[in-house]
Symmetry: C2
Subunit: 358 residues, 2 copies
Amino acid sequence: MINMRYFCSMFENQERTEIDQLGEFALIEHLTAKFQLENEGIIVPLGDDAAVFKSDENTVYSTDMLVEGIHFDLSYVPLKHLGYKAAVVNISDIAAMNARCRYLSLNIAISNRFSAEALEEFYAGFSLACERYKVTLIGGDTSASQSGMVISVSAIGYADEKRIARRNSAKENDLLIVSGDLGGAFMGLQVLEREKAVFVDNPEIQPDLEGNDYILERQLKPEARVDIVEMLEELGVVPTSMIDISDGLASECHHIAKQSEVGIAIYEEKIPIDPMTHSRARDFELDPTTCALNGGEDYELLFTVKQEDWDKIKGNPNMTAIGHITDKNSGLQLITQSGNSHPIEAQGWNHFSSEDEG
Amino acid sequence: MINMRYFCSMFENQERTEIDQLGEFALIEHLTAKFQLENEGIIVPLGDDAAVFKSDENTVYSTDMLVEGIHFDLSYVPLKHLGYKAAVVNISDIAAMNARCRYLSLNIAISNRFSAEALEEFYAGFSLACERYKVTLIGGDTSASQSGMVISVSAIGYADEKRIARRNSAKENDLLIVSGDLGGAFMGLQVLEREKAVFVDNPEIQPDLEGNDYILERQLKPEARVDIVEMLEELGVVPTSMIDISDGLASECHHIAKQSEVGIAIYEEKIPIDPMTHSRARDFELDPTTCALNGGEDYELLFTVKQEDWDKIKGNPNMTAIGHITDKNSGLQLITQSGNSHPIEAQGWNHFSSEDEG
């Protein structure tokens, strides 16, 4: 459940301690104190020049940056949710290799607009995700910035080499499977943007978020599908390729198609869309399929399996077959209910295209 | 040698391609194309959700953020040097555990003030350091920012568990050793700041950097002392504690003293200071010892060894014994040439203390 008290009032009515009152080293010690930093693999925990920990044979490593004003808008994203999401999107990248995340590091640069309490909120969310996903914090840096907030997270995980699923190994006739449902995070964002616009026009009006819990949670508190990685292992299935849906189904399909040198056919009617996503898309006069194809941040897993593995997956409520791999020359095609075929354009984010120097 | 053509003119007279002309994915592909991305340990190189690589038993991991206007000033730091330094400071953190860096990742957020060519310069420097230190790039993200440049680098290395040197294990009577010489990077910064001030007053005057090569290089193109890590192994010495000098000798001594619960005595006359550092400090009416104690960014290694290991190190021109570990109650003391004892204050950077929202 989204905590509405944060909405549009994050910097009001809160206790405020200036970050420089604490000093840099004390601040980092304070913020990391609540983390569960010990686990059996840790030889040197954070607080030294580097952390040292036991490693399995194959390290899976990913890193990602989130920039205020580009990737998130603090006028409607509570800092605690942002902290949770910053951890989850990186855990999701490790899951997208069919691997398990074990360690995270967190660097933040923030301006003095933020209080120590605000930073604590962010860390509380990050810490919650670490607990939830059984991941240990092994490092990080907190620095001043001249303006805004920049977050950089790295994730370290492990996998058996035989189970690793890349983007470049989908084969013709493989089935295309997606976990969960799509487009919800995007519709949640539309609701938040609408209420922000109302608030900017008239700060007296309270945001109307009633009845949108599911899609708001999809946007503000996404989860990484580590359960799918576990299920696939239990089912004895190794995906022939895999990616997580951060930029949108269309964009991720383009990555798999390009790197695997294949084409993909998706059946429109098979794309899983939650009724709330569908209904809200109609309210906004948007096409639900377009929302599912191009709305990012669902953090579901998109993967391909051999036809012969279908029997192991069939009927699993967490996974939906939405299409199959075709030959390279066929490109990416959406097959509509009426049987027509339309090429799918990738409309992933180009963060550089519309931003101006602040 | 510092390339003076960059000085104060980095954004002039250069070919300029807007970053958004390339698009985000194409940009990252373009920038990483020149890196040596294959090595025998790499199973999945960058370009997937995560990289996968072979791991030794003990992973040594460190991460660090560099923020424009806080950690660097692009009016006199050439982007190629900045790229080189961003890699080196992280390689140095791994060396400070008495370990060897094998992989780096690089995240950058930049505003549209920067051209694709400027970003290429930065990457060229980073790539040069990767080649020089035989380190493989395993990941990274390039994002827009609303203003300025933020760099986040992570480093992964390996070490035999028995050779790892922490900060918390110095023992009374151990000798305190430092590599190279100190204060040079700080004096280089003073020269750059002076010439920047002259330039701001009168842009017609060319910067006068003659005769300052060594200290400018200490500031703009520091090296990580991986050679010391190798030497210590060849000499059969495991330091009882170790740290790299990023914030200044005094600050690093405080870290060792605090974490090891010991005191430290440093002999002023033993602190290695290059003649150019000494001479320039006098020109600026600064005390050379204070520059060596509190001027950071030398990236030398500071470590302690057992007395019985002294014979193995004695006479090595790369290492100087500057003091010894005392009991906790003695605190940190500087012993002057006349034999007087003065407490050493830590004056490390507090980046939060003097910055305003831009």
